[in-house]
Amino acid sequence: MTMIFGIPLPALLGQLLIGFINGSFYALLSLGLAVIFGLLRVINFAHGAQYMLGAFTAYLVLAYTGLGFWPALIVAPLIVAMLSAVIERTMLSRLYDLDHLYGLLFTFGLALIIEGTFRYYFGAAGNPYPTPALLAGGTNLGFMFMPNYRGFVVVASLVICISTWLLIEKTRLGAYLRAATENPQLVQAFGVNVPLLLTLTYALGAGLAGLAGVLAAPIYQVSPLMGSNLIIIVFAVVVIGGMGSILGAIISGYMLGILEGLTKVFYPEASNIVVFVIMAIVLMIRPAGLFGKEA
């Protein structure tokens, strides 16, 4: 058997794959956070709850209507996005003129309400969600065995990340969005409906979290608390990447997932904290984050 640094190659590659999959979710979630933060200047603490909501919607849709993974992949993010749009319109939008910390505190309260309610009705245990039949089984890549669904997640997350990036950087809507980030008053004066843009942005970010939740359901099981610990890691990812660029959020998401996977191989005890340690190092060397612009 091939060994690298005393570690069997298949074990190393297996952990790398797990790291890449975790990284896919970090990237999807920090992407959503960055999109929301870019325009609204709100750190969306409810992002983990919205991710959980996406997974639970898929689970409940399957349980009550029998609709499987593929319809859920579209329905669940839409439901999460619509709910979030209502919340943004009725409550969050009142906080934009205040210190940004209030947005954080509001979404924190929101996360507690959502997660607490689901925990009350569904308990803390995980509920299994079946892998879609089309992607059951696995493929032997020669050097390792790859479950098809996991390969699909990696590809899907890359596609989602790249298309979101294209949407924001290359389309007309994205141009409005970026302009509104720079100077909302001016864009409003040009006749663009900025409040609507804000609502759509929040819905888009929350929808991305919901989509990540559906993708996660077959891998991590569906549980009310699946988002709460993840969101803190994603916060650290965001601090490492810096909020400056969408691309930065995506790249640091994948990078940290892979680093975490590698840590599991070489020093498993530290795998829980490696992201935070890296955050501490980045703060010492480059406080604005790896891709951050502001000083």
Binding site: R41, I43, M91, R94, L95, Y96, D97, L98, D99, H100, L101, Y102, L104, L105, F106, F108, G109, L110, A111, L112, I113, I114, E115, G116, T117, R119, Y120, N229, I232, I233, F235, A236, V238, V239, M243, E269, N272, I273, V275, F276, V277, M279, A280, L283, M284, P287
Partner: protein, 335 residues
């Protein structure tokens, strides 16, 4: 940089915080007199309280009130929202519990060890966190406290999920038996009053005035020649140490140190206590803590999830009630 301001509504960035609100306008001196009278009544009330109310409950309120007061030193007076204060509260509880149980230390020295340990963790966390401001500061403190949570989860001396149980209350200075309900009550009250007075002194010292200046306008404070980061770090360490004092005392009172006290939910609870009571006010955090602890006590026996209740109060506070109870009261009196 925007700042959290306790007397006026908080402005968005762009104004650059150039409007400095004075603590009180001329002819409003009487408010501090009211404060002293209320403080006197509160102290007398606390002295006789164990004869009327279940002492363990009041001790729990006192521990959390001190925790919130320590947290408010940072949020209310420097404008820094730490989302990781549980690390100091729960961390100190572990140190104290270990010292009292395994090393057999006398309770007061075990508590001081816990507070000192919390101050040390505060020095490390603060050193990193003050490199970022505003919303990032909150995220960095949250992430670092989560790291500390995992370290406590894995460190052998904390016994993981079980926590450190059966911590002896012991004999204060080798003489006073703290297993006696009244003895431990007055011991906890003394610690609370000491912590309260310490924060009051810090806030009203020249150091505290520089902190408030940083809260109002950091750039202007820098241009006046103050080494702002030293003041921030100093305040962070003091806040962490006093939060640790509260956590250590709780460990002695309840004879247990667990992961609950270091988890991020606890950091959120102390934010809520301070927000509900009124950040940047002297009495607000203690009142907020008393309300939240009472509410948890009440809801524990009901079929309604406490987390949801806490979330609802959070949302209501942020949307409708940003000054908190004491903040609103001050506004009404001054009108």
């Amino acid at each position: 940089m925007t700042s959290l301001d306790h007397t006026s509504e908080i402005r968005s960035e762009g104004t650059d915080g150039t409007t400095v609100t004075p603590d009180r306008k001329p002819g409003q001196r009487d408010l501090s007199t009211i404060g002293f009278v209320l403080a006197g009544i509160a102290v007398v009330g606390l002295l006789v309280a164990p004869f009327y109310v279940y002492p363990v409950f009041i001790m729990s309120v006192l521990c959390f009130a001190l925790f919130a007061i320590a947290f408010n030193l940072l949020l209310g007076y420097v404008g820094l929202l730490s989302f990781g204060h549980a690390a100091f509260f729960g961390g100190a509880a572990y140190f104290t519990a270990h010292a009292a149980k395994v090393w057999g230390w006398e309770p007061l020295s075990a508590i001081l060890l816990g507070a000192g340990g919390a101050g040390l963790i505060g020095l490390l966390v603060g050193y990193l966190a003050i490199r970022r401001q505003g919303i990032y500061f909150a995220m960095v403190t949250l992430a670092l406290s989560q790291m500390i949570f995992f370290i406590f989860l894995q460190a052998p001396f904390t016994h993981g999920e079980d926590g450190i149980q059966g911590v002896p209350r012991g004999y204060l200075l080798g003489i006073v038996n703290l297993n006696d309900p009244l003895n431990i009550y007055y011991f906890v009250l003394a610690i609370f009053l000491f912590g309260f007075f310490a924060v009051w002194r810090i806030v009203h010292s020249p150091f505290g005035h520089v902190l408030k200046a940083i809260r109002e306008n950091e750039n202007r404070t820098i241009s006046l020649g103050y080494r702002v980061e030293r003041y921030k770090l100093g305040a962070f360490v003091m806040s962490a140490a006093i939060a640790g004092l509260a956590g250590s005392t709780k460990a002695i009172v309840f004879q247990i140190a667990t992961l609950t006290d270091v988890a991020w939910q606890m950091s959120g609870e102390v934010v809520l206590m301070t927000l509900l009571g009124g950040m940047g006010t002297i009495f607000g955090p203690a009142i907020g803590a008393a309300l939240v602890v009472t509410m948890q006590h009440y809801f524990a026996s009901m079929d309604f999830p406490v987390t949801v209740m806490i979330g609802i109060i959070f949302v209501l506070c942020v949307l409708l009630f940003r000054r908190g109870i004491v903040g609103e009261a001050i506004r009404l009196i001054r009108r």
